[in-house]
């Protein structure tokens, strides 16, 4: 069992979701984040005072997957989230030791 986490551009979330569905992934968890990186930020101006905002809205997508599916899922996300411009984000994989579905108490691959 692995946890695939992806940080992607917000307007790409819909595409990522679609790509994952196409892979048969039936669930995921999404949250708002802000990213700092090469992409740089932007400047806001309030009464003439400039504010450099270097955190850019991103979305975190988390998917629990079977060990076997990891590579295709990572590839699908990477594909779907790519615009080719700086700031497209990262995908990473972390080992998971146990998963439980709260409703039923099922564990492991059954649980996702």
């Amino acid at each position: 069992m692995k946890l695939v986490t992806a940080i992607v551009k917000p307007f790409k979330v819909e595409d990522v979701k679609t790509a994952l569905k196409a892979q048969g992934v039936t669930g995921m968890t999404i949250s708002e984040t802000a990213g700092y990186g090469r992409q740089g930020g932007h400047v806001e101006v309030y009464r003439g005072a400039e504010y450099t905002v270097d955190l850019i809205p991103k979305v975190r997508v988390e998917v629990l997957v079977d060990d076997a599916a990891v590579d295709t899922v990572v590839a699908a996300i990477t594909e779907a989230a790519r615009t080719g411009k700086i700031g497209d984000g990262k995908v990473w994989v972390v080992p998971v030791e146990q998963v439980v579905r709260v409703r039923t108490g099922e564990t492991g691959a059954e649980a996702i």
Partner: protein
Amino acid sequence: MLADVLPNDAAQKGVCAGMESALNTGDTAWILTSAALVLLMIPGLALFYGGMVRGKSVLNMLMMVIGALFIVGVLWMFIGYSMAFGYSYGNAGLLGNVTEFFALEGLMANNPEAIYPAMAFVAFQAMFACLTVGLIAGAVPDRMKYSAWMIFAAVWAVLVYFPVAHWVFNFGVGAVPADGGGWLTKLGVIDFAGGTAVHINAGAAALALAIVVGRRLGWPRTPMRPHNLTLVMLGAALLWFGWFGFNAGSAVAANNTAGVVFLNTFVATCGAGLAWLIVETMRDGKATSLGAASGIVAGLVAITPACSAVSPVGALIIGLLAGAICSAAIGLKYRLRYDDSLDVVAVHLVGGLVGTLLIGLLATEAAPAGVNGLFYGGGVDQLSKQAIGAFSVLGYSLIVTFVIALIIRAIIGVRASEENEVSGIDLAEHAESAYELGDSGAGGFAGIGHGSSGTGGGKS
């Protein structure tokens, strides 16, 4: 038109010139302005209430108040005005003749003897009816079925508000004092702008309805804090602003009475705001913005019946007492375990009682109403009249509201499903959610809470 030219209307008016018309344009201007001000109180109330509920119920809160406004507005045109301001059946002072002004028949004509246009007064009073019904909604947010609320609003307006408005606001016809007028007016109860007909009336109905609808899931264990206090303050501000039309507009003239009433309304509100903050500071250690907003409303409620009867110092005392008593009265619901969610009882019923009864003590002959209360040597006469007025409205409203609510509950039910209450009544009853703020920053944010896939226009 060119600026140096008289419009047609103006030519016919001939103020001072031959008196073709008794129309007083200044009074008319003030009545029209006041009517607009009172209209604004209604969304003001909706926002005041809306800010106090949770984010998942704010639209329903707005819709209860605004939906009631729509329906009561239409009812008012057809029968409400006539029931309130028609000649009293049998001169009993209980109900106006429904057919007299049915659909406002005959009120459109330019009556040369009228000081102000009949329609201006009809509009002004329409807003009172709509507002009063809206006030009740504060007792039952988060959980009442919307259809049941809309039916309740219509029925309550007809069976409770229109009659009670007749009792209190109908001064009768022409030379004979109170001929055809309401029984409380004939009795000599002083209620300048609606402490009884509006606030005690709505407050008592709120109590009955809260009991019939029942408590919110989790109340009082689960905290349900206001979701947007800037909205609450904005609502309170619009209420205060509009209330000058409500009170000073009730002079139905731009005269000295209106001036006194205006000033008293202002002073009482300041006093009530201060008092609420002082009570909070003493009790909780902090003065809150919700307290300030609540104090504003409590003061406005309490001065409403009394604004023409007291001096500025009297108004201040009423304000201070209203602020202190209403803020204490909020504890009642926790003790008696009824979930009057936004404290309509503590603010409008209690505040209305404070103002209506204090007239009996603080009224002074020097004020426009020209009556002395107990403390000014007037004895208990006025006080007992005030008590009769206050408690007969309270009793009538409480009982009839109970009956209406129980019947609606029996026939179609009054509660949203538990699931809908938990997940949020905005979504369940209105298929909307109030905010999608995630989308604001930089970056084309699809909005997480609503990463929705649209079928724009699929049905429209």
